[in-house]
């Protein structure tokens, strides 16, 4: 079979399953008794195995198969979930993820899995549960009944059927256990309906069980009746039948609920989110481009409108405007993805790093469903990883230090996302040691960034800014996690290149908070169009703080540089004519200043004329002109003309 055409789908789905495995394993670590989670993990592993086998990826099939075996043992309560076992499972997932990477690059899954297979196979990672436990595991068995089956049982009970949990013990000397089991199943089928079995029917058929299995049967027959029919089968050693009562089910169910982090509602919601149509990103971009074109044409039509007095034309154009606005919103929504896509890598990261560093850390995430444009999502992953690593490594102290400081042993990292106007805010905060300003001062001096006197005079705010300078890291030791001095300046640059900003709030021994502000989308922005000379330029509206009129007399010189006063502050004056290589014919006495902001810094830009505010579609200048820093891109105006967008971050 030619499987190439399915490769892409395979890779996408594998990634999804690996992601869900990761997520569920983390859940399982918190609730090791929750059979729903185990079921979910099992299902993902099973699907992966099936897909890999179909595609002919043997290593992947073998590994998932082995994982399935181990999961099966967890499911049947013959081994316990220990953190060592979790480590191995996580390693397997990493291996699977590497494999998909290798597959997408080379088309084969050559990856050394022997080590993992061995780890999965060895017993020292597992903790065997004493055999007697099986006898007592009645209530746990009940938990193995999933929602769907529970529903059937409830319905059956209301119609006078009884539900039995039947444990069949087969003689140890039996040669063909699966054949015996088959007979048991056949017999039971005649007596009623089998709801499920532990281990699964497939595993029983493959003889993947010890000497006993449990089935749930719905039947009108009496207990003893069933028992006598079963015991007559040869080589059956023992039969334990217990009636499951409807009310007991409910009780068990309730007892289970609070232990779950996910309520069943959430779980249903979760499974629904997977029901989606896969659309190639290119098609989506194409659609977006078409809508952009439509907006341009619409703006052009509006320009023509003033010449036409026909009320029909006017109302038609108004209608068109409404539709294009809605269409634009709809397309934007399609491109929106929840920040969850970036966030969901963090629980795993925190777990691994905290184990590595011997710290105790709880990660709380809020607002994972906050939606951001795809263009933004793709870019914020790395900066966030940096900040998280910073918090884990520099922020949170080791447990003994924390105790000494009178803080709880376990540190807390909060990751929050929410909308604010046309922006999305992402906060990374920890309750760690905060930024040590003395350390920052010493470091700045050591690195020769500032002299000793200069350092002493610096305010805390200025010191925080130092952290974002290239090559600055306060960690005493260089660790794997962070502290290679390539941290915060990279983060800052990245965020500013996205038209966003980053802020830090810190308090000694209380913690540090990084606040990132990002635009919702990078494709369409509100902009102020201005004239400079006879050329049109656009300023992104979110970089403008105010527009003021200034007189020539208000320009002062500070160290040869022109400055103006703005709200009691001295800010630099940027003559756009000069920056844009335009000739200024004659200087008028009054001029318009656009006050632009970059973080906390302000600057005044002189322009000749204001045209107005407009929604513009940002188009890149292309790779060929990527060296032109002061231009962020271009946009096409209603009349088909091109206006360049000024990148105010690179103006000063």
């Amino acid at each position: 079979m030619d499987t190439n055409q399915y490769l892409e789908i395979f890779l996408e789905e594998s990634e999804e399953h690996i992601e869900s495995l990761n997520e569920n394993l983390l859940q399982l670590e918190k609730n090791p008794e929750d059979s729903h989670i185990i079921d979910e993990i099992f299902r993902s592993a099973h699907t992966l195995k099936g897909m890999a086998a179909t595609m002919g990826f043997e290593n992947m099939t073998r590994l998932t198969h082995k994982m399935e075996d181990v999961l099966q043992e967890i499911r049947s309560n013959s081994i316990k979930v220990t953190s060592n076992l979790m480590d191995v499972l996580f390693k397997c997932i990493d291996a699977l993820s590497s494999m998909t990477g290798i597959i997408s690059e080379s088309g084969n899954d050559s990856y050394d899995i022997e080590n993992l297979i061995e780890l999965l196979g060895t017993n020292n990672t597992k903790e065997e549960v004493a055999a007697t436990n099986i006898e007592n595991s009645k209530s746990l068995d009940n938990n193995n009944i999933n929602v769907y089956e529970k529903d059937i049982i409830e319905k059956a009970a209301s119609q006078g059927y009884k539900t039995y949990s039947i444990e069949v013990v087969i003689d140890k000397n039996c040669v063909m256990k699966s054949a015996r089991a088959f007979i048991v199943f056949n017999t039971l089928d005649n007596l009623g309906d089998i709801v499920d079995s532990t281990p699964s029917v497939e595993d029983i058929e493959d003889e993947k069980f010890d000497d006993r299995f449990t089935v749930h049967l719905i039947s009108k027959h009496e207990k003893d009746d069933i028992k006598s029919k079963l015991i007559s089968i040869s080589e059956i050693k023992n039969i334990n039948i217990e009636e499951l009562l409807y009310s007991k089910e409910i009780k068990d169910n309730k007892r289970l609920e609070p232990a779950n982090n996910l309520s069943s509602d959430d779980r249903i919601k979760h499974s629904k989110t997977n029901k989606s149509v896969r659309v190639d990103i290119e098609r989506l971009d194409n659609l977006m481009n078409l809508v952009s074109e439509l907006i341009i044409i619409k703006t052009r039509l509006e320009g023509l409108e003033s010449n036409e007095k026909n009320p029909d034309t006017i109302s038609t154009i108004e209608y068109l405007e409404r539709i294009t606005t809605n269409l634009h919103d709809a397309v934007m929504k399609v491109r929106m993805v929840p920040v969850e896509r970036v966030f969901n890598r963090f629980p795993r990261m925190v777990r691994d790093l905290s184990r590595e560093l011997n710290k105790k850390i709880t990660l709380n995430m809020y607002g994972q469903d906050t939606e951001v444009d795809r263009t933004v999502i793709d870019e914020i992953g790395d900066p966030l990883v940096h900040l998280m690593r910073n918090s884990i490594d520099h922020g949170i102290e080791t447990p003994d230090v924390r105790v000494k400081k009178g803080k709880p042993e376990t540190g807390v990292i909060n990751l929050k996302a929410y909308h604010e106007g046309n922006n999305v805010i992402i906060e990374v905060s920890d309750d760690g040691s905060g930024i040590n300003f003395e350390k920052v001062k010493n470091k700045a001096y050591e690195k020769g960034m500032l002299s000793a006197d200069e350092v002493e005079e610096l305010s805390n705010e200025k010191l925080v800014k130092l952290l974002f300078e290239p090559g600055f890291s306060t960690s005493d030791t260089i660790s794997d996690i962070s502290g290679r001095g390539v941290g915060l300046d990279v983060v800052k640059n990245k965020i500013e290149s996205l038209n966003g900003s980053i802020e830090v709030k810190t308090e000694v021994d209380k913690g540090t908070k990084f606040i990132i502000k990002l635009p919702l989308t990078l494709a369409i922005i509100q902009a102020l169009l201005v004239m400079v000379g006879n050329e049109k330029y656009a300023f992104p509206l979110n970089s403008i703080s105010e527009i003021v009129n200034k007189n020539k007399n208000e320009i002062h010189l500070v160290q040869g540089k022109e400055v103006v006063m703005y709200r009691g502050k001295v800010i630099p004056l940027i003559r756009l004519h000069n920056v844009l290589d335009l000739k200024l014919d004659e200087e008028s006495d009054n001029f318009i200043c656009v006050i632009i902001k970059k973080g906390d810094n302000l600057a005044a830009c002189s322009v000749d004329e204001l045209i107005g505010q407009q929604e513009i579609v940002i188009k890149p200048l292309g790779k060929y002109l990527s060296n032109v820093k002061i231009i962020a891109g271009a946009t096409i105006l209603g009349d088909g003309q091109v206006a360049l967008i000024i990148d105010s971050n690179n103006l000063f």
């Binding site: 844009l580 292309g622 060929y624 002109l625 060296n627 231009i631 271009a634 003309q641 091109v642 360049l644």
Partner: protein
């Protein structure tokens, strides 16, 4: 056999591999881009896409001429870089047998090292200088 779009600058003829040529456009309004190298005339709006255009005359250090009805912008696409080059005219496509295409001798002082010419094609007694498209579309990065 290879096909080339023949473009002219004065009396000189330059060839561009036809599969790199996306389209040939008449001259339209060019928006100047500040801080770009001088041979970059600016950007144009080509059916909704922003394309940088460069003056081939300036790039090759030839004297500039006024644009007229024959002036064309040849849109070239090489991998993910799209640029337009302004030429005096472009109205011919020729087919040249591979035997008649010579690679240039880089050591000869006839061709400067930074020249954009990759090969020379011969059609009868005409000589066609064939652009090295990779060089032509990445000049920026090399220079800066």
């Amino acid at each position: 056999m290879s096909m080339f779009v023949v473009t002219r600058l004065g009396s000189e003829e330059y060839g561009i591999e036809i599969d790199k040529v996306q389209s040939i456009e008449k001259i339209t309004k060019i928006t100047r881009v500040p801080k770009a190298p001088s041979f970059v005339k600016g950007v144009i709006n080509l059916r909704g896409e922003i394309i940088p255009v460069i003056s081939l005359r300036m790039l090759l250090k030839l004297s500039e001429v006024e644009f007229d009805d024959d002036t064309r912008i040849v849109i070239i696409k090489n991998n993910d870089i799209i640029i337009g080059i302004i030429v005096d005219n472009a109205n011919e496509v020729v087919e040249i047998h591979d035997d008649n295409i010579d690679s240039i001798d880089v050591n000869s002082n006839l061709y400067k090292k930074e020249s954009f010419i990759g090969k020379i094609g011969k059609i009868g007694n005409r000589i066609l200088m064939i652009f090295d498209i990779d060089k032509l579309t990445t000049q920026q990065e090399v220079k800066l």
